[in-house]
């Protein structure tokens, strides 16, 4: 597959950009020993990530496909454990287990992609049937609901996107896809009732960020200011008052794209967008070129997952998407997220290399 030779290089480029971005926004830079700084930890996770990437890419992906139900069971169990025994943060959410080292919701993204790929590739004759649609929706709604209860709106949305993409790529008819979409929209009032107050405010502030510049709309407004202040070439490496003086909240996680743009300007922003476009386009190319069904579905699900995350995150940085707490893959600070992205990429790379041979 000559079109995707560069695949690990693209990931490496994104990884380096991410490390630079975390370094420049590290709140503990120069204030803690290296290994305790955000950059230090992110670097460690990156090294670990590459190890995992290498390891996973050496394992034939069919091995994971065969684990199908086992993976599904682990997802559901770990999400239940989180709900009852997980440790949380100060807004009352519970996302972590095992001493704050593992976020099961993050792993469930990859797990659900593998499970859906396995589940759907086993019954290609049923594609387009209502029966299969209902089965997959039932199987998807359980982890989605559990994640939603943590609550982690962003990840829950990713799971829904995975399921929706699976329907789309497996050739379900447009009217059925539209029906599913209508069903999801119909569920919004129900979701609204379940949402936490801070989540409602976040969503509302997306529609009117000016209404409360010091409250919930603050993030979005500051993020736009940060990107705008960066101008065409940016203010330069480690400069930029918006993120350095912390007017921009979550400047090393959710809003790292804005911090990057403040330093590197429009040019820097375009570089990130271009790298992501290249990466996602490559993933889909691999999907087209890989001969077997499991590989195709898995790559397209991973591709969709990235498209969705990049679109939501960059969009919310620019104030055109609601603030949902979805990190920017490879760039945002966060070990779990980086780690599972590397697992996913390892599988995609294995698919690309194995070319469907067992």
């Amino acid at each position: 597959m000559k079109t995707v030779k560069m695949f690990p290089i693209i990931i490496l480029s994104l990884n380096i950009v991410g490390l630079l971005a975390v370094y420049s926004t590290d709140p503990l830079r120069g204030e803690a020993v290296f290994i305790q700084t955000f950059f230090g930890r992110q670097l460690m996770w990156s090294l670990l990530g590459w190890l995992v990437f290498w390891g996973i890419s050496r394992i034939h992906y069919h091995w994971f496909i065969k684990l199908e139900w086992m993976i599904y069971l682990i997802i559901i169990l770990s999400l239940i454990v989180v709900l009852f025994f997980g440790s949380g943060d100060d807004v009352g959410t519970r996302r972590w287990i095992l001493f704050r080292s593992v976020q099961p919701s993050e792993f469930s993204k990859v797990g659900m992609a593998v499970f859906l790929a396995a589940f759907l590739s086993a019954q290609p004759e049923d594609y387009g049937s209502w029966q299969l649609l209902l089965k997959t929706s039932f199987l998807s709604i359980i982890p989605t609901g559990l994640i939603f209860l943590e609550p982690d709106l962003g990840t829950a949305l990713v799971i829904i996107v995975l399921w929706f993409s699976a329907l789309f790529f497996c050739g379900f008819q447009w009217k059925k896809i539209l029906a599913v979409l209508a069903g999801l929209v119909g569920l919004i009032p129900f979701f609204w009732l379940v949402l936490h107050d801070y989540q409602r405010k976040r969503l509302l502030s997306f529609f009117a960020p000016q209404s409360d510049p010091l409250g919930t709309g603050y993030n979005v407004l500051q993020s736009k200011i940060t990107i705008g202040a960066g101008s065409f070439f940016g203010k330069g490496w480690l400069s930029g008052t918006q993120s350095q003086l912390r007017f921009l909240p979550a400047h090393y996680t959710d809003f790292i794209f804005a911090s990057w743009c403040e330093q590197w300007g429009f040019v820097g922003g375009v570089i990130i967008l271009a790298l992501f476009f290249w990466l996602i386009w490559s993933i889909f190319r691999i999907g087209i070129e890989t001969p077997d069904l499991e590989g195709k579905i898995l790559t397209t699900l991973f591709g969709s997952m990235f498209v969705f995350q990049v679109m939501i995150n960059v969009g919310m940085n620019m104030g055109v998407m609601p603030v949902t707490g979805i990190p920017l893959p490879f760039i945002s600070y966060g070990g779990s997220s980086l780690f599972i992205n590397m697992i996913a990429m390892g599988m995609v790379w294995n698919i690309a290399q194995s070319g469907g041979n067992e």
């Binding site: 990107i227 202040a229 960066g230 429009f266 375009v270 889909f284 999907g287 087209i288 620019m318």
Partner: protein
């Protein structure tokens, strides 16, 4: 493979999706372009506004000293805790602050014009240290030093120096909003108000860069505030204090000044108020208490209160009589203890009568009968005219705000306001300073100045010198003739001889045994509400006067008593402590 159809479908959908993908990225690209290229200017400006704060630094006011350099008013640093807007919840910050400095803060939270919230405005240096030590718990809280006005002599100078306070909306309008803002302090009364222009300092500012928590990252630029002028007054603080002591426990006024140049040395008003309390702003209750106090401590009696002058007014009647040539040296008038006019008896203060008195002796003994006679011969117009010439019912030009005028009754006024003609009885009352006639103590003072200086009156003033911040004199109040009363020299001398006799053998005998001869006149103002008010006014040295004084003791009985005795102590004090000033020339 066994079924190619699903794979074809998937590839088909992927091709389709590539277009959607392309669309998404084009959308993101153009949004980025819009923000960081098209709208960049707008957001750069917003970003600057995020981080840069201008903190105005309150300017200290000029120092006010007495003539010997004693501090009357100055600014001392005080500290306030200020919360930058949007950095934290004000109530919560207030609670943390209270816990930090271990006391309850009573004042309400209030907004400043720049949006900052004042958490506490009266903090000691110890409390500032406590706050600085727990800086991290108080994000967005800044400690600010600001100048606070203090008046070391307190009550003793309250009516002269006045006090400052927070500017109100009317003052803001008056001074113009470009130079003042609603946190400024302005002079509210006295010298502080009158010389606001000099006393007001030059404001400074501090341009700071703050982080999102409002913590100061660095100071970009500072312009230090400074005071511009120091005012030296003609006031003699020690003398002023002594005058207040003399009036202790009484209501009354003592004014002391130099007739040769218009300098005022003391102006004691009792009761007084504590200006230091008013600077911080008092509560409505405390303010009402001050205003409704029946003793009116806020009233500057010397300039604002009206009293009948009593016999002191005989000096004016005497001048009018001398000018009218109705008191030749040979003329004597017999006093049987009363004066009879159209079947009414007007009493002399001495019921037994003074017997036969010439003009000078009549002044010395303050014989009412003599002055009834002279008054009726003169008619009220000539008396009022002489009073006008001596400056009654006219601005004295003193450099303190709020001066009142006395009241000189005329037949026209009586016809219009009371609806009655002017009766000879009214003239009789006027001749001894009673009836409708009212004066301020300062008007009496000015008339004695005119007599002591033989007709020349200088504009009275408290301001002596204005110095700039380099201690260069930029303004000096020079003697300025305010009024020149043209009378034959021997008219003055004869009146002064009478005033000398007042002390030597007349009603002012209390001042007889002083080491320095003085000229004076007593007065007893009838007071329908209680005991008579006691007046004594005079000057010394007689031939080359350097001191003019007026003493008024409310409800002090007749003038030969309370007022004259206090005058004696006053003169003795001046002789003991300020002897050098008595011999200087000019």
């Amino acid at each position: 493979m066994w079924n190619e159809k699903p794979k074809i479908v998937i590839n088909h959908r992927i091709e389709l999706f590539t277009w959607i993908l392309f669309g998404i990225f084009v959308f993101l690209f153009f949004n980025l372009w819009y923000l960081s290229v098209l709208q960049s200017g707008l957001y750069q400006e917003k970003s600057e506004r995020n981080r840069i704060r201008m903190i105005p630094l309150q300017a200290p006011r000029g120092i006010i000293t007495d003539r010997y350099g004693q501090i009357l008013a100055q600014d001392v640093p005080r500290f306030a805790a200020v919360l930058l807007p949007g950095s934290a919840n004000p109530e919560k910050s207030r609670q943390i602050l209270e816990k930090t400095i271990k006391r309850k803060i009573e004042e309400p939270l209030r907004d400043r014009y720049s949006g900052e919230i004042i958490l506490a405005s009266q903090m000691s240096i110890e409390e500032v240290v406590m706050v600085e030590e727990t800086r991290k718990e108080l994000p967005g809280v800044m400690i600010e030093a600001y100048p606070k006005r203090i008046y070391p002599p307190g009550e003793d100078i309250a009516h002269i120096v006045g006090y400052v306070g927070k500017i109100n909306s009317e003052e803001l309008k008056k001074f113009g909003q470009t130079n003042y803002n609603n946190e400024d302090v302005v002079g509210k009364s006295g010298i502080e108000l009158n010389y606001e222009e000099f006393l007001r300092g030059q404001k400074g500012y501090r341009k700071i860069e703050v982080d999102a928590l409002g913590r100061i990252v660095r100071i970009l630029d500072t312009s230090f505030p400074r005071f511009r002028h120091t005012l030296t007054l003609t006031l003699d603080l020690e003398l002023q204090r002594y005058c207040n002591e003399l009036l202790a426990g009484k209501s009354g006024v003592i004014i002391v000044g130099d007739p040769t140049n218009g300098e005022l040395l003391a102006m004691a008003n009792q009761p007084s108020f504590e200006p230091n309390l008013l600077v911080d702003g008092v509560s409505q209750d405390e303010w009402n208490e001050l205003i409704e106090n029946p003793q009116n401590p806020l009233t500057t009696r010397s300039l604002q209160a009206l009293y009948p002058p009593g016999s002191i007014f005989k000096l004016i009647v005497g001048l009018a009589a001398q000018e009218a040539n109705i008191v030749s040296k040979e003329r004597t008038i017999f006093c049987p203890g009363y004066y009879e006019y159209s079947n009414r008896r007007y009493p002399c203060w001495r019921k037994a009568g003074h017997g036969r008195l010439n003009y000078e002796d009549a002044l010395a003994q303050s014989c009412n009968v003599t002055f009834y006679t002279l008054g009726l011969e003169l008619g009220q117009d000539r008396i009022i005219d002489m009073a006008r010439r001596l400056g009654f019912e006219e601005d004295t030009g003193i450099d303190l705000p709020g001066e009142n005028h006395g009241f000189l009754p005329t037949s026209r006024w009586k016809r219009q306001k009371i609806g009655e003609p002017w009766y000879p009885g009214d003239t009789i009352n006027l001749s001894i300073g009673q009836g409708y006639l009212l004066v301020t103590p300062f008007e009496i003072f000015q008339s004695v100045v005119a007599i002591s200086n033989r007709g020349v009156v200088y504009t009275p003033h408290f301001l002596k010198v204005v110095q700039n911040d380099k201690r260069e004199v930029i303004e000096r109040t020079l003697p300025k003739v305010k009024n020149r009363i043209e009378l034959k020299p021997d008219i003055w001398e004869r009146l002064i001889r009478g005033m000398t006799k007042v002390v030597v053998e007349g009603t002012g005998r209390a001042c007889r045994d002083l080491p320095i001869p003085i000229a004076g006149k007593t007065g007893t103002a009838q007071n329908p509400h209680g005991n008579d008010h006691s007046w004594f006014a005079g000057f010394f040295p007689i031939d080359n006067p350097r001191y003019v004084f007026v003493v008024l003791v409310e409800n002090g009985g007749d003038g030969s008593g309370e007022a004259a005795h206090r005058s004696k102590d006053l003169i003795q004090w001046i002789y003991d402590h300020r002897e050098n000033t008595l011999n200087e020339n000019g």
